[in-house]
Symmetry: C2
């Protein structure tokens, strides 16, 4: 049983791009009747910033006999509970030629569960990343067992019809059209990630290539479901106004009835060597201001040596976390080359993570000029340790962002669930603020010099087609 | 039964780069005791240039009861016979996380057959592409049945031991070290193809990523073999001093004993949209002269509309087939920017093909300058039809190159086998010279303008690390 603070890291600051595999921000599907735009915004933010240790909370962990791993995060501020179920299967598991299948299953499972959760007035979420698939509901505490029971029944009996499959594929394709195809920045990032990760499946979009989504058939979808969604391939997180004993009783009475199956762990993919910097230029009629995005392939939290991922997180904050950051001060305020800047670290992945830098040019500024300016700032970070005042402010801000977010129960559950699903522990979640506070100035310089390197980068230009 | 001329197209001119998935040139393994360097060179050339119709030859096609498709190409100039067996399984079928497995199986099967073929004094070849795997032997006609019988026994009983698997993986890794890792141009092309094809498996090297090759185990290798190598997934080509009736009797008595299995056709992969030109720069200590390679993703022979692939073939010849071509005349002779130039079309693929342009800079010439010059030449080809004299010379040369190659029996067998294995017919092979002769000047301009476009291209620079 883990014991301690309850807040967790999530990704760096939100940027203008949909996340590659980060989940909530990119894949949020908030569907319940009581959910409006403000809640969506909250959930999106929750997925993208670290959360803070809450000193008075405890987490409790146990496994059911069927292998389901349960984490209970008591939070008694209001009589509501969040249930999150995460499966260790995601887009990286999509079979050859059937990209989008994990996302499709999420859509299908969600549709199958809609009636129940709407009746309960639940606030729902569902998201698929390359590494895992998650479903959550926030409900009144008195409805927890009913919701879990309905969910368990549905999971035990998910039988896809040809109609379900057609609808599911249509939903995935419509979702993609809305979020990616109509969004030049999302399209740019998709192309850049394909170039960044080479043949690793992180280079394949979670929503799949439409041509392949259309090939998904009932047989393949059902086989994928039967193979990857047993309880022993899942984590249940229950956060909220519940005691560990209540949660255990509820879980045993509901998910406890599901049958464990043989596990089929994900293939271990090579992360192919990158031998050179790559640049990608996309010209679009629907773009007005040139935009520069650079993505570096870097170590993730699961791969990094101690302190490395945290130093990358702090570096992102220093370079482009807010208007006090180096990119903003230099490019927006001093040199007036850009209208918007950002740096981010996306380190919550089973395989490699991403470090990103983004800048939108001011009218009349050539993207090459912007890029040289960005290169100069990154270069300085490689050579010089940050000033102590800047470092302390960055670390304080990262931890404080988490404080703010910690009020949202879904983000609380996500912090644990998403970390567990990629192989981290509850302890990793709880220690995160202390590990951030421990990052030294020299460690920040060291990751800038050693991790954020051009050979591991793809630089993307998104330009107006007239240029 | 097909009937007619017997020469076949192969890819465009040999260039300094190992082919991505072309087979013999890249994957040639000539191991028999009597084979020397000159024969190797011949076999390499055979894989890379089209062959010509031989008016007096006939091909005969039939299927055995177990589904093996047999093509007999009589060639009575000498008492030798070439047997080529091609399986419709290649690196595109490698399971997730086990790239290199098809290549590995080829190595293992070859090793299992070595003793027999050496005893027969055979000239052997074996190669794996993304689309298929081939084994061949050229032997005295009196040894044909014995060789086929031994081969059939081996195929029926291929049981991999842990030792075989270790040796096979070591062979694949050693092969890669020799041909790719020590060859900056091969490394550049590998990286470029990963960027060109995005997540399509053509972007994954045939030899696999070493990290994944090391994961190949006996269970997975045997399962892959059992799944993909039944006789009904194969083509047998017998070229040489044999009658169709003799070949049929031999095939029935040997391969006829193999049992058909259920087929597992290759997944239909999306060819993801490319939204922008990509540039890749690789810096290496072991490179002296800057080198420029551009690869365009274009239609293959299997995908192209009538005449399109042939026009691309002619365009490659016009741009960079020989010292009379546009690139050579302009870059080497007139402007003295390059020491070597080449253009090529690799159209023998089940999915997309490649069109390539290559130039090596003269000392002191910056690669950007070279690239601008190349762009100018390609641009001219988009806007202006070729002169009739150039067009006729290019077409004559393509067909004539094939005449020269047609003496080699292995290339003759390959021409049929490799075309059949990607879904073309014997008729397609036989008609090729006429289709080349029919290409018009306007068709060449049209493919230059419509197919060879920057959005579908990756431009690679290979530069000395000091630059």
């Amino acid at each position: 049983m883990a014991d301690g603070g309850v807040r967790a890291p999530r990704n760096a600051k939100a940027i203008a791009f949909p996340a590659r595999r980060r989940g909530l921000r990119d894949r949020a599907v908030l569907i319940a009747s009581r959910v409006g735009a403000s809640l969506l915004a909250l959930a999106l933010a929750a997925a993208t910033a670290p959360a803070l240790a809450q000193q008075d909370a405890k987490v409790f962990q146990f496994a059911l006999e069927n292998g389901l791993q349960v984490t209970v995060v008591p939070d008694h501020r209001a009589p509501v509970v969040t249930r999150m179920l995460l499966y260790r299967v995601g887009a990286a598991d999509d079979p050859p030629g059937l990209s989008g299948l994990a996302d499709f299953i999420q859509q299908a499972a969600l549709n199958a569960g809609n009636a129940t959760s709407s009746n309960n007035g639940a606030r729902n979420c569902a998201f698929t990343t390359h590494d895992y698939t998650a479903f959550c509901q926030q409900i009144g505490k008195d409805r927890l067992r009913a919701v879990m029971s309905a969910d368990a029944d549905r999971l035990a009996n998910l039988a896809l019809s040809d109609r379900n499959v057609r609808d599911g594929a249509d939903a995935v394709l419509a979702d993609r059209r809305a979020r990616v195809d109509g969004n030049p920045q999302a399209l740019l990032r998709e192309q850049m990630e394909a170039a960044l990760f080479l043949s690793h499946p992180y280079g394949r979009p979670v929503t799949g290539w439409p041509e392949e989504v259309r090939h998904i058939g009932r047989i393949e979808a059902q086989a994928f479901y039967d193979r990857h969604y047993p309880p022993n391939n899942a984590y249940l997180v229950v956060a909220g106004d519940v005691t560990p004993d209540e949660a255990r009783a509820d879980a045993e009475a509901t998910y406890g009835k599901l049958t464990a199956h043989e596990l089929h762990p994900r293939a271990e993919f090579a992360q192919p060597p990158r031998l050179g910097e790559t640049r990608l230029t996309v010209l679009r009629d629907d773009v007005r201001m040139p935009l520069l995005l650079r993505l570096y392939r870097v170590a993730s939290y699961t791969e990094a040596r101690p302190g490395e991922a945290e130093a990358l997180q702090v570096l992102a904050q220093l370079l482009g976390g807010d208007p006090t950051s180096a990119l903003y001060r230099e490019l927006v305020i001093r040199r007036k080359l850009a209208t918007e800047t950002r740096a981010f670290y996306e380190g919550y992945a089973r395989d490699d993570g991403e470090f990103g830098i983004f800048a939108r040019a001011k009218p009349g500024v050539r993207p090459e000029v912007l890029q040289q300016a960005v290169d100069g700032i990154v270069s300085a970070a490689m050579q010089t340790v940050p000033r102590m005042a800047d470092l302390e402010r960055a670390k304080t801000q990262l931890v404080a962002d988490a404080v703010y977010l910690h009020d949202d129960q879904i983000s609380l559950a996500s912090a644990y669930g998403q970390s567990l699903a990629i192989g981290l522990t509850a302890q990793d979640v709880e220690d995160w603020p202390n590990r951030i506070r421990a990052v030294s100035a020299e460690e920040v310089r060291k990751v800038a010099a050693g991790d954020v390197i051009l050979r591991e980068a793809v630089t993307g230009y998104l330009l107006p087609a007239t240029q």
